[in-house]
């Protein structure tokens, strides 16, 4: 391991449901250091009370998502060198979600909205039926596949200002999931799902800021999915199906 040459000044949000503040830590720089490395160093060397989430630490699970210098990122995949400004960093819990402690936020409402938007797959067939052939390059399957890689890290949710201004809004992840399933030929719950995405909390609230698309680490495009939902819902209204 390389000898540290510089000291980073890192502001970390500490607190809980009753409030909190930024606390400054001096953290030695390391070669190829990530933000998750920084947080881990602080918890191990400076303050064992620091609460934070991580799991795979290789950019697959999305558990380590936090606000880094005001931008939501996977901290395990964010190199300090890429984001540090004048040797300073600010690390905060994800926006738009209630904080449990320090850098850990309560994901309950995020998952609840996923369900409300019709995020659960509703199969038409049973294990008794023959396997349904699906063409991978049919337009609907292509649309479903383009949206299917979401790992529920909530970065898009944290980035979305409509969620900030309209707390009931289902949000980009839930709506992106609904779009993926609405394009899934195997699903039988489309009517209920359509009603959900056209509800008062639904897709029409999106103003196409595209923060979701900009910051999604999996390079998904919830903005495009939501635009697709708007078209689906509008067509349903005009054909009397909604």
């Amino acid at each position: 391991m390389q000898e540290p040459t510089d000291i980073l000044q890192v502001d970390v949000w500490r607190g809980d449901t009753s409030g909190g503040r930024l606390v400054i830590y001096q953290v030695p720089q390391q070669l190829s250091q990530t933000i998750l490395d920084v947080v881990t160093w602080i918890q191990r060397e400076q303050d064992p009370q620091l609460a934070y989430r991580f799991s795979c630490r290789v950019g697959m699970c999305g558990s380590c998502a936090m606000m880094v210098n005001g931008i939501p990122r996977w901290t395990c995949r964010t190199h300090v060198q890429k984001v540090v400004q004048n040797n300073r960093l600010t690390i905060e819990p994800l926006r738009n979600l209630p904080v449990i402690k320090d850098l850990v936020c309560d994901m309950s409402e995020f998952f609840a909205k996923w369900k409300v938007a019709g995020g659960q797959f509703m199969p038409r067939k049973t294990r008794q039926d023959p396997v349904e052939p699906l063409l991978p390059d049919s337009p609907k399957r292509a649309a479903a596949n383009a949206a299917v890689e979401c790992i529920n890290c909530a970065i898009c949710y944290a980035a979305c200002d409509v969620v900030t201004w309209n707390p009931g809004y289902l949000g980009p992840a839930a709506l992106n999931r609904a779009w993926s399933l609405l394009n899934d030929e195997r699903d039988s719950g489309q009517q209920a799902r359509l009603r959900a995405i056209a509800s008062d909390a639904g897709c029409h609230n999106c103003h196409s800021h595209a923060n979701c698309t900009t910051y999604c680490p999996n390079e998904l495009n919830p903005s495009a999915s939501i635009a697709g939902l708007k078209r689906l819902a509008a067509r349903a209204v005009f054909t009397g199906n909604l």
């Binding site: 005001g70 931008i71 980035a159 200002d161 103003h207 800021h209 595209a210 635009a227 697709g228 509008a234």
Partner: protein, 114 residues
């Protein structure tokens, strides 16, 4: 007022421009309608107020209004295309084009106003 870091990206700025232009136009409209309504019974007052439009500062303000209307409309057309036509990946380019086109139109107005 500092814009938060996550809001600095081009399409969010395009949204802000669209919302501010809409608000500006909505506030302007009642004054606009009032001035035109003067033609009914108070045409001298109307002429008096229209003479304000000879001042350079007012001409510049009118240029601003034309820009606001144009940018709100062209930005709005981009949104209508985004929402009702198949997805286009070049949203940033389209947003920039809307601003550029609006500015040129408003400039055309200004050139004729001075």
């Amino acid at each position: 007022m500092m814009i938060k870091p996550h809001r600095g990206q081009p399409l969010w700025i395009a949204f802000l421009l669209h919302r501010i232009s809409g608000l500006g136009l909505a506030i302007f409209l009642p004054f606009h309608f009032y001035l035109l309504g003067l033609a009914l019974e108070q045409s001298e007052t109307m002429d008096g107020l229209l003479r304000w439009s000879d001042y350079p500062l007012v001409k510049f303000a009118e240029f601003g209004l034309v820009f606001l209307l144009a940018v709100h409309m062209f930005g709005g057309l981009r949104l209508l295309a985004l929402e009702f036509l198949p997805w286009n990946d070049r949203q940033k380019t389209l947003a920039a084009a809307a601003v550029a086109l609006s500015f040129l139109l408003a400039l055309g107005f200004l050139m004729r106003a001075v």
